[in-house]
Amino acid sequence: MSIDLTHYLIVGALLFSIGLYVTLAKRNVVGILMGIELMFNAVNLTFIAFSRFVESAQPISGHVFVIFIITVAAAEAAVALALAVVVYRNRTTIDIDKINLLRW
């Protein structure tokens, strides 16, 4: 059997759903951020797979998109982890069940 586009898409779907579960269910802010990074990776893998397999006038565009996603993900991780440190400094916890300042 050969490896084709569908294999990569299913791997991407499984990786995305694992990241979705981590993001929704984890209690720690750092854990939630790890879930978001897993989802980014799943989307990047799907982009690269489409870029490799699907007919297109400019097949390299998928790679360029992935470079931009990695850039934005790095910026997002820096700001989000700075926010986690600030929240810990002010509330002495990063447990999202206890950060309920805006809950009614």
Partner: protein, 163 residues
């Protein structure tokens, strides 16, 4: 992609990536979860190489497995040992259902759709083509990305500064 080496590499990297991602869910210690996450990133980089995306694979190892993992470890070390559990909230059940539905939907659509696959063959070299695309067609997003990185860097420094 019919040669045996590629097929074996694909399955091994898939097991490594998804297994490490599952370890992120299962492991109780947050430190071990970050180490599993690094392993998962490296597995994804290997999958990029099987797709002949050499430049993106190197960028993945440098930025995800290097920079972002170190950043996450730093943030974790700045919080005390007691805050390092990896437990779930009360949303565990609904999240599990939602994640299962997402996986089934995306995988079902991916398997059922005809993607009009090309018989183009693998890329021979991507770095040159990516560089040309970044400086011709995508030059405006390229410049905006540099501003975004500057803003994120200044913002992170301002947020964690003590005064």
């Amino acid at each position: 992609m019919d040669d045996a080496g590629t097929i074996v590499a694909f399955w091994m990297l898939t097991v490594m990536t998804l297994g490490a991602a599952l370890m992120v869910v299962i492991v109780r210690n947050l430190f071990h979860a970050v180490l599993s996450l690094i392993l998962s990133f490296i597995g994804v980089a290997g999958l990029y190489i099987t797709l002949s995306a050499d430049f993106v694979a190197v960028a993945q190892v440098l930025i995800y497995a290097g920079a972002i993992s170190v950043l996450i470890l730093f943030a974790m070390m700045l919080t005390p040992r007691a805050a390092r559990d990896n437990a779930e909230t009360f949303l565990q059940g609904p999240a599990l259902v939602l994640a299962g539905l997402a996986a089934a939907t995306i995988a079902g659509v991916a398997a059922a759709t005809d993607w009009s696959e090309a018989s183009r063959g693998p890329f021979t070299e991507t770095a040159q083509a990516i560089g040309e695309a970044l400086l011709n067609r995508y030059v405006l997003p390229f410049e905006i990305a540099s501003v975004l990185l500057l803003v994120a860097m200044v913002g992170a420094i301002v947020l964690v500064r003590e005064d």
